[in-house]
Protein backbone atom coordinates (compact mmCIF):
# COMPACT_ATOMS: atom_id res chain seq x y z
CA UNK A 1 0.00 0.00 0.00
CA UNK A 2 2.78 2.38 0.91
CA UNK A 3 4.43 1.74 -2.41
CA UNK A 4 1.39 2.49 -4.42
CA UNK A 5 0.71 5.72 -2.67
CA UNK A 6 4.23 6.92 -3.16
CA UNK A 7 4.03 6.17 -6.83
CA UNK A 8 0.81 8.04 -7.16
CA UNK A 9 1.77 11.15 -5.31
CA UNK A 10 5.17 11.98 -6.66
CA UNK A 11 4.95 15.61 -7.77
CA UNK A 12 2.96 15.42 -10.99
CA UNK A 13 2.97 11.65 -10.59
CA UNK A 14 5.45 9.26 -12.04
CA UNK A 15 5.97 6.03 -13.90
CA UNK A 16 7.24 2.84 -12.25
CA UNK A 17 10.29 1.56 -14.06
CA UNK A 18 11.12 -2.03 -13.04
CA UNK A 19 14.76 -3.01 -12.62
CA UNK A 20 15.05 -6.51 -11.21
CA UNK A 21 12.61 -9.33 -10.45
CA UNK A 22 13.26 -10.40 -6.87
CA UNK A 23 10.59 -13.07 -6.47
CA UNK A 24 8.82 -15.07 -9.11
CA UNK A 25 5.16 -16.06 -9.05
CA UNK A 26 6.09 -19.47 -7.65
CA UNK A 27 8.15 -17.84 -4.91
CA UNK A 28 5.15 -15.75 -3.91
CA UNK A 29 2.86 -18.76 -3.90
CA UNK A 30 5.31 -20.72 -1.74
CA UNK A 31 5.63 -17.81 0.66
CA UNK A 32 1.87 -17.59 1.07
CA UNK A 33 1.67 -21.29 1.79
CA UNK A 34 4.48 -21.04 4.34
CA UNK A 35 2.83 -18.08 6.03
CA UNK A 36 -0.47 -19.96 6.19
CA UNK A 37 1.24 -22.84 8.00
CA UNK A 38 2.98 -20.42 10.35
CA UNK A 39 -0.37 -18.84 11.21
CA UNK A 40 -1.95 -22.20 12.03
CA UNK A 41 1.06 -23.25 14.09
CA UNK A 42 1.44 -20.00 16.03
CA UNK A 43 -2.24 -19.78 16.92
CA UNK A 44 -2.74 -23.49 17.55
CA UNK A 45 -5.73 -23.57 15.20
CA UNK A 46 -7.71 -20.88 13.38
CA UNK A 47 -11.30 -21.29 14.50
CA UNK A 48 -11.87 -17.54 15.03
CA UNK A 49 -9.65 -16.14 12.33
CA UNK A 50 -10.61 -13.31 9.95
CA UNK A 51 -8.22 -12.37 7.15
CA UNK A 52 -8.34 -8.71 6.16
CA UNK A 53 -6.47 -7.40 3.14
CA UNK A 54 -5.40 -3.74 2.99
CA UNK A 55 -6.56 -1.95 -0.17
CA UNK A 56 -5.36 -2.44 -2.69
CA UNK A 57 -2.10 -4.35 -2.67
CA UNK A 58 -2.99 -6.60 0.22
CA UNK A 59 -6.34 -7.72 -1.18
CA UNK A 60 -5.33 -10.41 -3.68
CA UNK A 61 -2.74 -11.71 -1.22
CA UNK A 62 -5.35 -11.87 1.54
CA UNK A 63 -7.77 -13.76 -0.66
CA UNK A 64 -5.14 -16.27 -1.63
CA UNK A 65 -4.05 -16.62 1.96
CA UNK A 66 -7.62 -17.25 3.08
CA UNK A 67 -8.00 -19.92 0.39
CA UNK A 68 -4.82 -21.69 1.50
CA UNK A 69 -5.88 -21.53 5.15
CA UNK A 70 -9.21 -23.09 4.23
CA UNK A 71 -7.40 -25.92 2.42
CA UNK A 72 -5.10 -26.53 5.38
CA UNK A 73 -7.64 -26.30 8.13
CA UNK A 74 -10.66 -27.56 6.29
CA UNK A 75 -12.91 -24.85 7.70
CA UNK A 76 -14.29 -21.74 5.96
CA UNK A 77 -12.11 -18.71 6.56
CA UNK A 78 -13.91 -15.34 6.31
CA UNK A 79 -12.01 -12.58 4.55
CA UNK A 80 -12.55 -8.89 3.97
CA UNK A 81 -10.95 -5.73 2.71
CA UNK A 82 -9.99 -2.50 4.47
CA UNK A 83 -9.32 0.91 2.95
CA UNK A 84 -7.53 3.16 5.43
CA UNK A 85 -7.88 6.46 3.56
CA UNK A 86 -9.92 8.02 6.37
CA UNK A 87 -7.49 7.00 9.10
CA UNK A 88 -4.22 8.14 7.56
CA UNK A 89 -2.03 10.50 9.54
CA UNK A 90 -1.15 12.54 6.47
CA UNK A 91 -4.61 13.73 5.47
CA UNK A 92 -4.19 17.34 4.38
CA UNK A 93 -0.50 16.78 3.65
CA UNK A 94 -0.70 14.31 0.83
CA UNK A 95 -3.72 13.98 -1.42
CA UNK A 96 -5.09 10.44 -1.36
CA UNK A 97 -8.63 9.23 -1.82
CA UNK A 98 -10.05 5.84 -0.87
CA UNK A 99 -9.34 3.28 -3.54
CA UNK A 100 -12.26 1.02 -2.78
CA UNK A 101 -14.98 0.43 -0.27
CA UNK A 102 -14.15 -1.28 2.99
CA UNK A 103 -15.87 -4.64 3.45
CA UNK A 104 -15.48 -6.22 6.86
CA UNK A 105 -17.41 -9.45 7.39
CA UNK A 106 -19.37 -8.93 10.58
CA UNK A 107 -18.22 -7.72 13.95
CA UNK A 108 -14.60 -8.32 14.85
CA UNK A 109 -15.08 -8.49 18.60
CA UNK A 110 -13.18 -11.43 20.06
CA UNK A 111 -11.84 -12.56 16.69
CA UNK A 112 -8.27 -13.16 15.60
CA UNK A 113 -7.59 -10.67 12.82
CA UNK A 114 -4.77 -11.31 10.39
CA UNK A 115 -4.03 -8.10 8.55
CA UNK A 116 -2.41 -8.65 5.15
CA UNK A 117 -0.45 -6.11 3.12
CA UNK A 118 1.91 -6.37 0.21
CA UNK A 119 4.78 -4.19 1.47
CA UNK A 120 5.67 -2.99 4.95
CA UNK A 121 7.62 0.25 4.72
CA UNK A 122 7.18 3.15 7.17
CA UNK A 123 4.48 1.40 9.13
CA UNK A 124 2.05 4.31 8.95
CA UNK A 125 -0.46 2.45 6.80
CA UNK A 126 -0.58 -0.40 9.30
CA UNK A 127 -1.01 2.03 12.16
CA UNK A 128 -3.94 3.61 10.29
CA UNK A 129 -5.35 0.12 9.71
CA UNK A 130 -5.17 -0.64 13.44
CA UNK A 131 -7.11 2.57 14.15
CA UNK A 132 -9.71 1.57 11.58
CA UNK A 133 -10.06 -1.96 12.90
CA UNK A 134 -10.74 -0.64 16.38
CA UNK A 135 -14.00 0.84 15.05
CA UNK A 136 -15.24 -2.63 14.17
CA UNK A 137 -15.00 -4.11 17.60
CA UNK A 138 -12.30 -5.23 20.00
CA UNK A 139 -10.42 -8.05 18.32
CA UNK A 140 -8.85 -10.76 20.48
CA UNK A 141 -5.58 -10.19 18.67
CA UNK A 142 -4.30 -8.59 15.49
CA UNK A 143 -1.40 -10.14 13.61
CA UNK A 144 0.33 -8.70 10.60
CA UNK A 145 1.35 -10.63 7.49
CA UNK A 146 3.32 -8.93 4.70
CA UNK A 147 4.87 -10.28 1.54
CA UNK A 148 7.85 -7.88 1.68
CA UNK A 149 9.42 -6.03 4.59
CA UNK A 150 11.64 -3.39 3.03
CA UNK A 151 12.75 -1.61 6.20
CA UNK A 152 12.74 2.18 6.92
CA UNK A 153 10.21 2.00 9.72
CA UNK A 154 8.98 5.33 11.13
CA UNK A 155 6.56 3.80 13.63
CA UNK A 156 7.24 0.92 16.05
CA UNK A 157 5.35 -1.67 13.98
CA UNK A 158 6.69 -5.17 13.38
CA UNK A 159 5.28 -7.93 11.20
CA UNK A 160 4.33 -11.33 12.55
CA UNK A 161 4.72 -13.11 9.21
CA UNK A 162 7.02 -12.06 6.38
CA UNK A 163 7.34 -13.41 2.84
CA UNK A 164 10.75 -11.87 2.29
CA UNK A 165 12.97 -9.40 4.12
CA UNK A 166 14.34 -7.06 1.50
CA UNK A 167 16.55 -4.12 2.48
CA UNK A 168 16.04 -1.27 0.00
CA UNK A 169 17.17 2.28 -0.62
CA UNK A 170 14.54 4.75 0.49
CA UNK A 171 14.04 6.10 -3.02
CA UNK A 172 13.50 2.66 -4.57
CA UNK A 173 10.04 1.20 -5.19
CA UNK A 174 8.78 -2.33 -4.65
CA UNK A 175 5.89 -3.70 -6.67
CA UNK A 176 4.15 -6.81 -5.33
CA UNK A 177 1.49 -9.01 -6.89
CA UNK A 178 0.62 -12.66 -7.19
CA UNK A 179 2.82 -12.62 -10.31
CA UNK A 180 5.91 -11.75 -8.35
CA UNK A 181 7.89 -9.04 -6.66
CA UNK A 182 9.78 -6.43 -8.69
CA UNK A 183 12.25 -3.81 -7.49
CA UNK A 184 12.47 -0.57 -9.44
CA UNK A 185 12.35 3.21 -9.45
CA UNK A 186 9.73 5.87 -10.03
CA UNK A 187 10.61 8.20 -12.84
CA UNK A 188 8.85 11.56 -12.76
CA UNK A 189 6.82 12.28 -15.86
Amino acid sequence: MAERERRLTTPRGGVFVPRVQVLSAEDVARAITRIAHEIVERNRGISDIVVIGLQTGGVPLARRLAQVLEEIAGVPVPSGTLDVAFYRDDIGIRPVLPEAVTDIPGDLAGELVVLVDDVLFTGRTVRAALNALADYGRARAVQLAVMVDRGHREIPIRPDYVGKNMPTRIDEQVDVSLDGVVLGDVVPR
Binding site: T56, F86, Y87, G92, I93, P95, L97, V101, N131
Partner: protein
Protein backbone atom coordinates in the same frame (compact mmCIF):
# COMPACT_ATOMS: atom_id res chain seq x y z
CA UNK B 1 2.75 63.70 -34.83
CA UNK B 2 0.73 62.39 -37.72
CA UNK B 3 -2.98 62.75 -38.09
CA UNK B 4 -3.59 59.01 -38.06
CA UNK B 5 -3.57 57.82 -34.47
CA UNK B 6 -1.84 54.55 -35.12
CA UNK B 7 -0.29 54.62 -31.70
CA UNK B 8 -3.73 54.32 -30.22
CA UNK B 9 -4.68 51.38 -32.36
CA UNK B 10 -1.77 49.28 -31.15
CA UNK B 11 -1.70 47.33 -27.95
CA UNK B 12 -4.77 48.94 -26.61
CA UNK B 13 -5.37 47.34 -23.30
CA UNK B 14 -8.85 48.61 -23.30
CA UNK B 15 -11.53 47.26 -25.54
CA UNK B 16 -13.52 44.32 -24.38
CA UNK B 17 -12.12 43.25 -21.07
CA UNK B 18 -11.56 39.53 -20.63
CA UNK B 19 -14.13 38.26 -18.20
CA UNK B 20 -12.66 37.75 -14.77
CA UNK B 21 -11.72 34.18 -14.10
CA UNK B 22 -14.62 32.95 -12.04
CA UNK B 23 -14.05 31.57 -8.62
CA UNK B 24 -15.15 28.16 -9.84
CA UNK B 25 -12.44 28.12 -12.46
CA UNK B 26 -9.93 28.96 -9.79
CA UNK B 27 -11.33 26.10 -7.80
CA UNK B 28 -10.66 23.63 -10.55
CA UNK B 29 -7.24 24.94 -11.35
CA UNK B 30 -6.08 25.08 -7.76
CA UNK B 31 -7.01 21.53 -6.95
CA UNK B 32 -10.57 22.05 -5.95
CA UNK B 33 -10.31 24.12 -2.83
CA UNK B 34 -13.92 25.16 -3.35
CA UNK B 35 -17.10 23.63 -4.59
CA UNK B 36 -19.15 26.52 -5.92
CA UNK B 37 -20.69 24.96 -8.99
CA UNK B 38 -21.06 21.55 -10.58
CA UNK B 39 -18.89 22.94 -13.38
CA UNK B 40 -16.02 22.87 -10.87
CA UNK B 41 -16.14 19.09 -11.12
CA UNK B 42 -16.94 17.99 -14.64
CA UNK B 43 -17.74 14.37 -15.43
CA UNK B 44 -14.52 13.02 -13.87
CA UNK B 45 -14.98 15.02 -10.75
CA UNK B 46 -18.57 13.89 -10.32
CA UNK B 47 -17.51 10.27 -10.78
CA UNK B 48 -14.80 10.74 -8.18
CA UNK B 49 -17.23 12.19 -5.67
CA UNK B 50 -19.61 9.28 -6.18
CA UNK B 51 -16.84 6.73 -5.67
CA UNK B 52 -15.67 8.38 -2.50
CA UNK B 53 -19.29 8.54 -1.37
CA UNK B 54 -19.46 4.74 -1.67
CA UNK B 55 -16.81 4.54 1.01
CA UNK B 56 -18.72 6.91 3.24
CA UNK B 57 -21.97 5.03 2.77
CA UNK B 58 -20.14 2.06 4.28
CA UNK B 59 -19.00 4.23 7.17
CA UNK B 60 -22.60 5.24 7.72
CA UNK B 61 -23.62 1.63 8.16
CA UNK B 62 -21.27 0.96 11.04
CA UNK B 63 -22.46 1.01 14.59
CA UNK B 64 -20.21 3.99 15.18
CA UNK B 65 -20.47 5.89 11.89
CA UNK B 66 -17.40 8.02 12.44
CA UNK B 67 -13.88 8.29 11.04
CA UNK B 68 -11.04 10.54 12.24
CA UNK B 69 -10.31 11.86 8.76
CA UNK B 70 -10.90 15.58 9.44
CA UNK B 71 -9.93 15.62 13.07
CA UNK B 72 -8.65 19.05 14.02
CA UNK B 73 -10.33 20.76 11.11
CA UNK B 74 -13.02 23.37 11.67
CA UNK B 75 -16.09 23.54 9.47
CA UNK B 76 -18.45 26.50 9.78
CA UNK B 77 -21.98 26.37 8.43
CA UNK B 78 -23.22 29.82 7.52
CA UNK B 79 -26.86 29.68 6.49
CA UNK B 80 -27.93 33.22 5.72
CA UNK B 81 -30.95 31.66 4.04
CA UNK B 82 -32.55 29.25 6.45
CA UNK B 83 -32.71 25.54 5.95
CA UNK B 84 -32.90 23.11 8.82
CA UNK B 85 -32.55 19.90 6.80
CA UNK B 86 -29.60 20.82 4.62
CA UNK B 87 -27.78 22.43 7.51
CA UNK B 88 -28.28 19.34 9.64
CA UNK B 89 -27.08 17.12 6.82
CA UNK B 90 -23.86 19.13 6.44
CA UNK B 91 -23.24 19.30 10.15
CA UNK B 92 -23.75 15.58 10.53
CA UNK B 93 -21.36 14.98 7.67
CA UNK B 94 -18.69 17.18 9.24
CA UNK B 95 -19.09 15.58 12.65
CA UNK B 96 -18.87 12.08 11.24
CA UNK B 97 -15.53 13.12 9.82
CA UNK B 98 -14.51 14.17 13.36
CA UNK B 99 -14.29 17.83 12.36
CA UNK B 100 -15.25 20.61 14.74
CA UNK B 101 -18.42 22.36 13.67
CA UNK B 102 -19.57 25.94 14.23
CA UNK B 103 -22.99 27.00 13.17
CA UNK B 104 -24.43 30.36 12.07
CA UNK B 105 -27.90 30.99 10.76
CA UNK B 106 -29.87 34.01 9.61
CA UNK B 107 -31.30 34.38 13.04
CA UNK B 108 -27.83 34.43 14.60
CA UNK B 109 -27.40 37.71 16.36
CA UNK B 110 -24.53 39.19 14.39
CA UNK B 111 -26.08 38.71 10.98
CA UNK B 112 -29.38 40.02 12.22
CA UNK B 113 -27.81 43.16 13.66
CA UNK B 114 -26.92 44.18 10.12
CA UNK B 115 -23.27 43.26 10.19
CA UNK B 116 -22.15 42.92 6.58
CA UNK B 117 -21.58 39.45 5.24
CA UNK B 118 -17.93 40.26 4.65
CA UNK B 119 -17.34 41.41 8.20
CA UNK B 120 -19.11 38.35 9.61
CA UNK B 121 -17.13 35.98 7.45
CA UNK B 122 -13.78 37.65 8.13
CA UNK B 123 -14.42 37.71 11.86
CA UNK B 124 -15.29 34.03 11.92
CA UNK B 125 -12.37 33.14 9.65
CA UNK B 126 -10.00 34.89 12.03
CA UNK B 127 -10.85 32.25 14.60
CA UNK B 128 -9.33 29.61 12.34
CA UNK B 129 -11.72 28.03 9.89
CA UNK B 130 -10.89 25.38 7.32
CA UNK B 131 -14.18 25.36 5.45
CA UNK B 132 -17.28 27.48 5.11
CA UNK B 133 -20.51 25.84 4.05
CA UNK B 134 -22.64 28.71 2.84
CA UNK B 135 -26.26 29.09 1.88
CA UNK B 136 -27.33 32.57 0.78
CA UNK B 137 -30.24 34.04 -1.09
CA UNK B 138 -27.95 35.93 -3.45
CA UNK B 139 -26.31 34.15 -6.39
CA UNK B 140 -22.57 34.45 -6.23
CA UNK B 141 -22.36 34.99 -2.46
CA UNK B 142 -20.19 31.89 -1.93
CA UNK B 143 -17.99 33.09 -4.79
CA UNK B 144 -17.63 36.44 -3.04
CA UNK B 145 -16.76 34.74 0.25
CA UNK B 146 -14.11 32.63 -1.49
CA UNK B 147 -12.41 35.89 -2.49
CA UNK B 148 -12.47 37.26 1.04
CA UNK B 149 -11.14 34.34 3.10
CA UNK B 150 -8.50 31.69 2.86
CA UNK B 151 -10.78 28.78 3.77
CA UNK B 152 -12.44 26.32 1.45
CA UNK B 153 -15.93 27.35 0.44
CA UNK B 154 -18.74 24.92 -0.20
CA UNK B 155 -21.87 26.27 -1.87
CA UNK B 156 -24.93 24.93 -0.06
CA UNK B 157 -27.26 26.93 -2.28
CA UNK B 158 -26.90 30.47 -3.60
CA UNK B 159 -30.05 32.15 -4.83
CA UNK B 160 -31.17 30.74 -8.17
CA UNK B 161 -27.67 29.70 -9.12
CA UNK B 162 -26.56 26.28 -7.86
CA UNK B 163 -26.78 23.63 -5.16
CA UNK B 164 -23.97 21.27 -6.14
CA UNK B 165 -24.24 18.73 -3.32
CA UNK B 166 -27.93 18.23 -4.08
CA UNK B 167 -27.13 17.29 -7.66
CA UNK B 168 -24.35 15.01 -6.45
CA UNK B 169 -26.57 13.15 -4.03
CA UNK B 170 -29.26 12.91 -6.69
CA UNK B 171 -26.76 11.34 -9.11
CA UNK B 172 -25.57 9.05 -6.36
CA UNK B 173 -29.10 7.90 -5.68
CA UNK B 174 -29.80 7.22 -9.34
CA UNK B 175 -26.62 5.16 -9.64
CA UNK B 176 -27.34 3.30 -6.42
CA UNK B 177 -30.91 2.37 -7.34
CA UNK B 178 -30.05 1.33 -10.89
CA UNK B 179 -27.11 -0.74 -9.64
CA UNK B 180 -29.32 -2.53 -7.14
CA UNK B 181 -31.60 -3.59 -9.94
CA UNK B 182 -28.64 -5.30 -11.57
CA UNK B 183 -27.63 -6.92 -8.33
CA UNK B 184 -24.51 -4.81 -8.04
CA UNK B 185 -23.18 -3.19 -4.93
CA UNK B 186 -22.78 0.56 -5.37
CA UNK B 187 -19.02 0.19 -5.24
CA UNK B 188 -19.24 -2.07 -8.28
CA UNK B 189 -21.44 0.19 -10.34
CA UNK B 190 -19.91 2.32 -13.05
CA UNK B 191 -21.17 5.55 -14.54
CA UNK B 192 -22.60 3.93 -17.65
CA UNK B 193 -26.08 4.06 -16.15
CA UNK B 194 -26.21 7.79 -16.94
CA UNK B 195 -25.52 7.52 -20.65
CA UNK B 196 -28.73 8.16 -22.46
CA UNK B 197 -30.72 8.16 -19.24
CA UNK B 198 -33.91 10.11 -19.84
CA UNK B 199 -34.61 12.53 -17.03
CA UNK B 200 -37.47 15.03 -16.83
CA UNK B 201 -37.16 17.96 -14.44
CA UNK B 202 -40.58 19.38 -13.70
CA UNK B 203 -41.48 22.65 -12.06
CA UNK B 204 -40.12 26.09 -11.32
CA UNK B 205 -36.88 25.76 -13.29
CA UNK B 206 -36.39 29.51 -13.51
CA UNK B 207 -35.88 30.01 -9.81
CA UNK B 208 -34.35 26.62 -9.04
CA UNK B 209 -30.71 26.14 -8.13
CA UNK B 210 -31.39 22.43 -7.81
CA UNK B 211 -32.52 22.33 -11.44
CA UNK B 212 -29.44 24.15 -12.72
CA UNK B 213 -27.00 21.96 -10.82
CA UNK B 214 -28.80 18.79 -11.87
CA UNK B 215 -28.93 19.82 -15.51
CA UNK B 216 -25.19 20.51 -15.48
CA UNK B 217 -24.38 17.25 -13.72
CA UNK B 218 -26.66 15.03 -15.79
CA UNK B 219 -25.58 16.63 -19.05
CA UNK B 220 -21.93 16.14 -18.12
CA UNK B 221 -22.62 12.46 -17.47
CA UNK B 222 -24.37 11.95 -20.79
CA UNK B 223 -28.00 11.89 -19.70
CA UNK B 224 -30.82 13.41 -21.75
CA UNK B 225 -32.72 16.00 -19.79
CA UNK B 226 -36.14 17.38 -20.63
CA UNK B 227 -37.38 20.47 -18.83
CA UNK B 228 -41.10 20.59 -18.17
CA UNK B 229 -42.61 23.86 -16.95
CA UNK B 230 -45.13 26.57 -17.69
CA UNK B 231 -43.75 29.41 -19.80
CA UNK B 232 -43.28 31.79 -16.88
CA UNK B 233 -41.17 29.31 -14.96
CA UNK B 234 -38.54 28.63 -17.60
CA UNK B 235 -35.21 30.45 -17.36
CA UNK B 236 -34.18 33.12 -19.88
CA UNK B 237 -32.13 31.87 -22.83
CA UNK B 238 -33.26 28.32 -22.04
CA UNK B 239 -32.24 27.40 -25.58
CA UNK B 240 -28.64 27.65 -24.41
CA UNK B 241 -29.10 25.10 -21.62
CA UNK B 242 -27.58 21.64 -22.25
CA UNK B 243 -30.96 19.91 -22.35
CA UNK B 244 -32.48 17.68 -24.99
CA UNK B 245 -35.91 19.27 -24.94
CA UNK B 246 -38.24 21.75 -23.29
CA UNK B 247 -41.92 20.90 -22.92
CA UNK B 248 -45.08 22.42 -21.48
CA UNK B 249 -46.94 19.11 -21.58
CA UNK B 250 -46.12 16.77 -18.72
CA UNK B 251 -48.48 14.07 -19.93
CA UNK B 252 -46.61 13.89 -23.21
CA UNK B 253 -43.27 13.51 -21.46
CA UNK B 254 -44.02 11.09 -18.62
CA UNK B 255 -44.24 7.80 -20.55
CA UNK B 256 -40.87 8.45 -22.21
CA UNK B 257 -38.63 8.96 -19.22
CA UNK B 258 -36.58 6.95 -16.73
CA UNK B 259 -36.51 9.54 -13.95
CA UNK B 260 -39.15 12.11 -13.07
CA UNK B 261 -37.54 14.80 -10.93
CA UNK B 262 -40.07 17.11 -9.31
CA UNK B 263 -39.19 20.56 -8.05
CA UNK B 264 -40.87 22.19 -5.13
CA UNK B 265 -43.27 24.97 -6.04
CA UNK B 266 -42.82 27.89 -3.68
CA UNK B 267 -46.05 29.42 -2.46
CA UNK B 268 -45.18 32.93 -3.62
CA UNK B 269 -44.94 31.81 -7.23
CA UNK B 270 -48.59 30.91 -7.17
CA UNK B 271 -49.62 34.28 -5.88
CA UNK B 272 -50.89 35.39 -9.27
CA UNK B 273 -47.74 36.88 -10.77
CA UNK B 274 -46.04 33.82 -12.24
CA UNK B 275 -49.00 31.48 -12.14
CA UNK B 276 -52.73 32.04 -11.90
CA UNK B 277 -52.92 29.80 -8.85
CA UNK B 278 -51.35 26.82 -7.11
CA UNK B 279 -54.40 24.82 -8.03
CA UNK B 280 -53.89 25.40 -11.72
CA UNK B 281 -50.24 24.44 -11.44
CA UNK B 282 -51.12 21.29 -9.59
CA UNK B 283 -53.71 20.26 -12.13
CA UNK B 284 -51.45 21.02 -15.11
CA UNK B 285 -48.12 19.80 -13.76
CA UNK B 286 -48.66 17.95 -10.52
CA UNK B 287 -47.64 14.29 -10.40
CA UNK B 288 -50.88 12.78 -9.26
CA UNK B 289 -51.70 9.07 -9.07
CA UNK B 290 -53.05 8.94 -12.63
CA UNK B 291 -49.93 10.52 -14.04
CA UNK B 292 -47.68 8.32 -11.92
CA UNK B 293 -49.23 5.24 -13.42
CA UNK B 294 -48.40 6.57 -16.88
CA UNK B 295 -44.72 6.35 -16.00
CA UNK B 296 -42.75 3.40 -17.39
CA UNK B 297 -42.46 0.49 -14.98
CA UNK B 298 -38.90 1.12 -13.92
CA UNK B 299 -39.11 4.91 -13.80
CA UNK B 300 -38.04 6.66 -10.62
CA UNK B 301 -39.66 9.63 -8.92
CA UNK B 302 -37.33 12.06 -7.17
CA UNK B 303 -37.69 15.33 -5.26
CA UNK B 304 -35.13 17.49 -3.46
CA UNK B 305 -37.47 18.12 -0.54
CA UNK B 306 -39.23 19.43 1.32
CA UNK B 307 -42.29 18.23 -0.55
CA UNK B 308 -45.49 20.16 -0.95
CA UNK B 309 -47.71 17.12 -0.82
CA UNK B 310 -50.73 17.75 -2.95
CA UNK B 311 -49.07 20.42 -5.08
CA UNK B 312 -46.23 19.08 -7.20
CA UNK B 313 -46.61 15.54 -5.92
CA UNK B 314 -49.67 13.70 -4.69
CA UNK B 315 -49.59 12.21 -1.25
CA UNK B 316 -49.91 8.62 -2.40
CA UNK B 317 -47.30 9.07 -5.13
CA UNK B 318 -44.70 10.22 -2.61
CA UNK B 319 -45.00 6.89 -0.84
CA UNK B 320 -44.83 4.63 -3.91
CA UNK B 321 -41.88 2.23 -4.14
CA UNK B 322 -40.65 4.04 -7.26
CA UNK B 323 -40.27 7.20 -5.23
CA UNK B 324 -36.72 7.30 -3.88
CA UNK B 325 -37.03 10.57 -2.02
CA UNK B 326 -36.02 9.20 1.36
CA UNK B 327 -32.98 7.53 -0.14
CA UNK B 328 -31.95 10.90 -1.52
CA UNK B 329 -31.98 12.29 1.99
CA UNK B 330 -30.11 9.30 3.39
CA UNK B 331 -27.40 9.60 0.76
CA UNK B 332 -27.01 13.29 1.45
CA UNK B 333 -24.80 12.79 4.48
CA UNK B 334 -22.42 10.39 2.75
CA UNK B 335 -22.11 12.60 -0.33
CA UNK B 336 -21.45 15.67 1.81
CA UNK B 337 -18.85 13.72 3.76
CA UNK B 338 -17.18 12.87 0.48
CA UNK B 339 -17.13 16.48 -0.66
CA UNK B 340 -15.82 17.76 2.68
CA UNK B 341 -13.15 15.08 2.72
CA UNK B 342 -12.08 15.92 -0.82
CA UNK B 343 -11.95 19.64 -0.11
CA UNK B 344 -10.20 19.50 3.24
CA UNK B 345 -8.23 16.29 2.93
CA UNK B 346 -6.39 17.68 -0.06
CA UNK B 347 -3.57 20.12 0.46
CA UNK B 348 -4.06 23.45 -1.30
CA UNK B 349 -2.95 23.42 -4.88
CA UNK B 350 -2.88 19.66 -5.26
CA UNK B 351 -5.45 17.44 -6.82
CA UNK B 352 -6.33 14.28 -4.95
CA UNK B 353 -5.37 10.90 -6.38
CA UNK B 354 -7.37 7.79 -6.10
CA UNK B 355 -9.07 5.26 -8.23
CA UNK B 356 -9.26 7.77 -11.04
CA UNK B 357 -6.84 10.19 -12.56
CA UNK B 358 -9.27 12.96 -11.93
CA UNK B 359 -9.48 16.23 -13.78
CA UNK B 360 -6.97 15.03 -16.34
CA UNK B 361 -4.33 14.36 -13.72
CA UNK B 362 -0.89 13.69 -15.09
CA UNK B 363 -0.07 10.46 -13.33
CA UNK B 364 -0.79 6.76 -13.73
CA UNK B 365 -3.40 5.34 -11.50
CA UNK B 366 -0.98 2.54 -10.88
CA UNK B 367 -3.23 0.31 -8.87
CA UNK B 368 -4.12 -2.97 -10.51
Amino acid sequence: MTAEPEALAEEQDVGLVEPEISASETAAAGGRRHLLSISDLGAYGIEEVLRVSDAFVEVGKRSIPKVPALRGKTVVTLFVEESTRTKLSFETAAKRLSADVMSFSASSSSLKKGESLRDTVETVAAMGVDAFVIRHSSAGAPAAVSRWVDASVLNAGDGWHEHPTQALLDCYTIREVLAEREGLAPGEAGMGCFKGLRVAIVGDIRHSRVARSNVLALAALGAEVTLVAPGTLLPPAVETWPVAAVSHDIDDVLPKIDVCYLLRLQAERGAGRFLPSIREYSSEYGLNARRASALADGALVMHPGPMNRGVEIADEVADLPRSVILRQVANGVAVRMAVLFMLLGTPHGQTPTGTLASLGGAWESGSA
